[in-house]
Symmetry: C2
Subunit: 316 residues, 2 copies
């Protein structure tokens, strides 16, 4: 049996660490959606999580896992999205400085949200090189600790607590499905299923235009793609090696969906469930709608990852 | 002390009657909204109710209160909106025919939803006279019982169960606020507060362009207005006399808001709470945002009435 760098005890400790700071999010279901799909779907609503996304879990776990002496110099990361808010919030809760590098093309609303948590923002060019350079410079100047958005065992442990809550509430689930971008949530979910009940199958949905995980699973090694592009803007990151070590043996299948399938799935959740989710969050449900035969008669836990979307720019 | 045609026992019996058929909807709150308002708001999420609106409560209570012999001939109503769906669903649950008169201008999506519950739909001209004539004819032909959308004690009892759940869950609330259109929900809410804890103040929000309740309260008698108009399409109905008997002595104040205030309030709830609500549903929150000083430091129960909105025609 494979061993992993994150143990069940690590996940349990992460859960104790983050619990005081996060919401225990509700699990919703919809009769009309179950009828359409022919399965029982249980949606874990991380769109209701602090900062509106599951990333609060990993961010808080990473920041609070640092020894006090080390975290007192602050934390630094680069992100244009939910991870930036997660680290800014976690740092605020821990009473330490947060230095967030954001591409100058990031939406004003996201920059404002990060500023709202009192973080120090540095704008950079919208390239991976500029992001990394700028973060490294700040790290050197301030002594702050760098926290990766997903390729970090403490982040994986934190994200794993979401599936932990779901499986503890509904131990009868057969299947879990998440989106996959950088792979932190998927790796954490796969570990939780592995430790709690290894009969639970773990799958992921991935956007067609950013399908590096699908390709990597086919090839059995990490495949990079150039210029990923999808309406699911939270899933453009490249699979991290630490995550892939976990995902490769534990995840059954990656299901690829198109942007129009993502939009249709998102709209169906808004209409039938009356909740706001972002495009990245609709990817697993789009994958279920596209592959109903895989889920027929199953009890499926679907992690709804977030609800941060610009209402002024909806795709319908 | 005034006596009313609906007793506390009637409301308790209505709750027992509808419970097996409705969802016990969750109560949500938002730290960021509470900070903006300077009060503690508790949102009772009837947008998650069957048919996506509180009207399921009144419809089910009215249909299931009919003696079996009488309801076997079916039920008839006229409505272009949530009441049509409520009666169609209730009739389906009771296994009796539903005859729904809908204006031929009603959105196709709403007609389809009512059809989805197996109701018989008759389209009529989009005037009150044509609605009433058509309903009366069907009533005569079929022997079906007419159920008013709001001016009906059984409907009022059913709607009263929503505030009953809220006050039983949170007995510390000082204030309750609902929207007001025909007045069924407001009357039911006022009765529940009166019977459970008459220190709880009950208020309502009403759209500027359909402010007949505001005018009626000022004058102390029912005032009709011509051609009500508002983005809050669920609140265009005229206050019923049975409701006004209850509302007049028990409701503290009607707060009037403009359409643009309604849209801003709706957007804030979508953005901060990640839930989908319809314009009519945002009216009480718009009233709170406009009159913060009235709610300062209070614990306020806000009934979120529904989430049925055409996502293809959003006002933002």
């Amino acid at each position: 049996m494979a061993t992993f760098n994150v143990s069940w005890q690590d996940i349990e400790q992460a859960h104790e660490r983050v619990k005081p700071y996060i919401h225990r999010t509700p699990v919703l279901s919809s009769e009309s959606i179950n009828t359409i799909v022919g399965a029982e779907l249980y949606f874990k609503c991380e769109n209701f999580q602090k900062i509106g996304a599951f990333k609060a879990r990993g961010g808080i776990n990473a920041v609070f896992s640092l020894p006090k002496e080390q975290r007192s110099r602050g934390v630094v990361t680069h992100s244009s999205g939910n991870h930036a808010q997660a680290i800014a919030l976690a740092a605020k809760m821990a009473g330490v400085p947060a230095y967030i590098v954001m591409p100058k093309t990031a939406p004003q609303v996201k920059i404002a949200a990060v500023e709202g948590y009192g973080a120090h923002i540095t704008l950079c060019e919208p390239t991976q090189a500029s992001r990394e350079e700028t973060s490294a410079r700040i790290q050197k100047e301030t002594g702050a600790v760098f926290i990766s958005p997903y390729n970090d065992f403490k982040v994986i442990e934190g994200q794993a607590t979401c599936a932990k809550e779901l499986l503890e509430e509904l131990p009868e689930l057969n299947t879990l499905i998440t989106p996959v971008g950088g792979g932190g949530l998927l790796a954490g979910t796969a570990l939780t299923a592995h430790y709690l009940n290894d009969k639970v199958e773990v799958l992921a949905g991935e956007p067609e235009g950013a399908n590096d995980t699908y390709l990597s699973m086919q090839k059995g090694e990490l495949v990079r793609i150039d210029a990923p592009k999808s309406i699911a803007d939270g899933l453009l990151a490249t699979m991290g090696d630490k995550n892939f070590e976990i995902i490769r043996p534990l995840v059954k299948q990656i299901l690829v969906v198109s942007d129009s399938e993502i939009i249709d799935a998102m709209r169906m959740i808004w209409e039938r469930m009356k909740i706001v989710i972002e495009p990245s969050c609709a990817v697993p449900f789009a994958a279920i709608l596209k592959n109903k035969e895989l889920f027929e008669g199953q009890k499926v836990g679907v992690i709804l990852t977030g609800g941060n979307i610009d209402l002024g720019k909806l795709p319908f």
